[in-house]
Symmetry: C2
Subunit: 438 residues, 2 copies
């Protein structure tokens, strides 16, 4: 074997991903050295409890509770602890001591990204985070580098495996949300506390990271509009299927063209949406992820793969470790994040998309005219209407109206739906869903 320069790699965290990273680093050490041009010596693993049971066998002497000491002597620090603190503190220490850092910590990057990247710039180090956005799917480098010469118009991502698993099963089995969630928890696809997934918090963090990269703008997490999937039920799934759609939790990052002299802005939002069955994202099944990118020159691109899983995510982390090692050997300063476009993030009210509005209405003459009038007054144009005959729904005296709109502004739509809800002829606003990708 070639006599390589040796780089000291410190690992923080030995959970599902960390233990796989450690195992693969050791198992494929010679191969990785050949690729990196440097030997990658795993010098220690910082954990809270060195005696905790691990998913893979690792030498006990690697474990330490003294993360700060571990960091001080490292060329590359891999942070897989998750959460904000002490992960943030450790990453800043690592950068300040001259190490390049690799992290899969989406929560940290979505909330403290600018601070971390600024610290890296100060010392000329690099931050690698391929695993932070869509698990094993290489999406960071394509956005950061391959598309750096293009203008991304729009990203639609299925970036949370748990919610895709749940929605996909609801679609296939015709089951209710609660039943599939319970089963997903039993099978390990959803956590005991599923809030982060089903309420869209996880997807929102990833959306902030993807939008920051795609639009060269630091997108703060609280600028991301977020809705979860807990309101999606069997009836909505059936109705979507009937209309040729499937419901997916989407992270949408969009460039909004300025009109009438107003500047360009972006919109970043996470919500369940209808997408046409023939759209490539519609065939992303189970816990898989996919990111669909529309760019001015490149056209439509899609990236597909496993969005989570210990060993899958470890692949992305190790790719970053090799990149960090190559940079270390090559010299020069790290390439910082490009956020100079600094586009404003528009609130959800300004977003324009199509909608599907489902109403239960009184089944008597003139109702459709009343409903159509309210929509028209609200500047919402009707594209399709389907009325289910009365007597087929839950209440025989009501008819169900499924209205597909043309492109409308969110604020107009929301105001209109409120007026519909207050109208005499509308018994109930059953659901309002955005339509994306058509």
């Amino acid at each position: 074997m070639t006599d390589y320069r040796r780089l000291r790699v410190a690992l923080l965290g030995a959970g599902a991903v960390g233990s796989q990273v450690a195992a693969l680093l050791r198992r494929h050490g010679d191969e990785l050295a050949d690729r990196a041009g440097a030997a990658l010596d795993l010098v220690g693993i910082g954990v809270r409890n060195p005696d905790a049971p691990r998913e893979v066998d690792l030498p006990q002497e690697l474990f330490t509770t003294d993360a700060e000491h571990l960091i001080l002597g490292a060329d590359i620090v891999i942070e897989l602890i998750g959460g904000i603190e002490p992960a943030r503190e450790y990453l800043l220490q690592a950068l300040n001591s001259g190490a390049d850092v690799v992290t899969a910590n989406k929560a940290l990057l979505a909330t403290h990204g600018p601070e971390i990247f600024e610290a890296a710039d100060q010392v000329g180090a690099s931050v690698y985070y391929e695993a932070a956005a869509a698990g094993a799917i290489p999406i960071i480098r394509p956005l950061r580098d391959s598309l750096a010469g293009d203008r991304v118009q729009r990203i639609m991502g299925i970036v949370n495996g748990t919610t895709n698993y749940i929605l996909d099963r609801m679609d296939h089995e015709g089951s209710e949300f609660e039943d599939v969630l319970a089963d997903a928890q039993a099978l390990g696809y959803a956590e005991a506390d599923p809030t982060a997934d089903i309420e869209g918090y996880d997807a929102a963090q990833k959306a902030a990271i993807l939008a920051s990269l795609a639009f060269h703008t630091a997108v703060p997490l609280d600028a991301v509009h977020r809705e979860g999937i807990t309101s999606i039920d069997k009836a909505m799934m059936d109705s979507a299927r009937h209309a040729g759609y499937v419901i997916k939790l989407l992270a949408v990052c969009e460039r909004l063209t300025g009109r009438d002299g107003s500047p360009e802005s972006i919109s970043v939002r996470v919500y369940p949406a209808l997408i046409p069955r023939e759209h490539p994202l519609a065939s992303v099944h189970g816990a898989n992820n996919a990111v669909f990118v529309q760019a001015e020159a490149a056209g439509n691109l899609m990236f597909y793969g496993a969005g989570a899983g210990g060993v899958q995510t470890a692949s992305a982390v190790l790719g970053d470790v090799v990149s960090a090692a190559r940079r270390h050997i090559a010299g020069g300063v790290g390439v910082g994040e490009s956020t100079r476009a600094n586009l404003p993030v528009s609130p959800i009210d300004f977003v324009e998309t199509r909608y599907q509005v489902t109403l239960d209405v009184s089944d008597r003459p003139g109702v459709l005219a009343s409903v159509a009038g309210i929509l028209s007054d609200g500047d919402v144009s009707i594209a399709t209407v389907e009325q289910t005959p009365s007597g087929t729904g839950e209440d025989p005296r009501t008819a169900r109206l499924v209205i597909g709109t043309h492109i409308a502004r969110e604020k107009n739509l929301a105001d209109t739906v409120e007026r519909l809800g207050r109208s005499d002829v509308v018994e109930r606003v059953v659901s309002v869903l955005r339509v994306e990708g058509d």
Copy 2:
């Protein structure tokens, strides 16, 4: 605008891709400067005829026939001439004069890659070639960087848009190859001389590049087994559809596990193959490309997008230009190609896959037994058989036998097919197709 360091960019070639690159460089100059951290000054465009008509309007004073002079003063050289010479000579000159280079030249990289990369290593420059493998699809960085910590087991790529367009139309319309090819030529999807596409030469070049990256091995073009699609006819398409398959021209790059102490090797091959209709590659329609990657840790990944087109390919080229500029600013030496794994490339004879063999046989007792005996003698195990009743085919005295095999070694299969062809009971070997992706 920030007062950036200015980098001198020289463009060689102003065809479909080059003219778009020049136009986008000029149109988005400020934005690209913000992203690159350097102003990208297009200092000249080297062409054979400065007065030739171009697809986009560009200032006449940019054009020059003196490519060598242009190269000498450049920080970044973009080579979009294509072909081997003078592209090779220009790239070597550029590297030797200290420029980083960007190229979309798959023919050059597939044949002279090691020479180019060696020259870059010598001077610490970098070679960027995202556009050389699958047009606008970011596949080079994912393989080179994102998956650098993983072990790629297999790549199956639809990497030639022309052949995918032809096969997709044959599949949808039930048309014959020659008719669709003529139409594709009329529509501009195929060239007047379509040999490079339909005989698989273009796909073989891309396969060599992808395999080199995936397996960290310099794969020479002549080690790539290559078959084109000219023998595919309507009957084969129909038969494939009937059996639940679709025929695609695939570039397959595969790691072959060493057995009985023999070392690992790789196989790189291009041929039309049957893939199951439910495989993600089966739904790649028209002139699109897609690359399906199976890696040990990451699992299954797919990258999808436009495989060709001037403006689409320009996106990939400009991403490389921004990367090259960032590296120039960051300092340090370029990261060279990783080819230290240096795995041997196995000849096609050693490949193992499944096959579909279609035979016209005499319609008399004992024939199936004879055929089965020949297969068994050749160590080819039968998975499925379907016999079409006699009288339905072209010749009423013959029956058609479609045999699906279990995994067999190419050499055994080829020998067996030869014996079948010489057998009394076989009237004609209609077709032999590999089955991939199931």
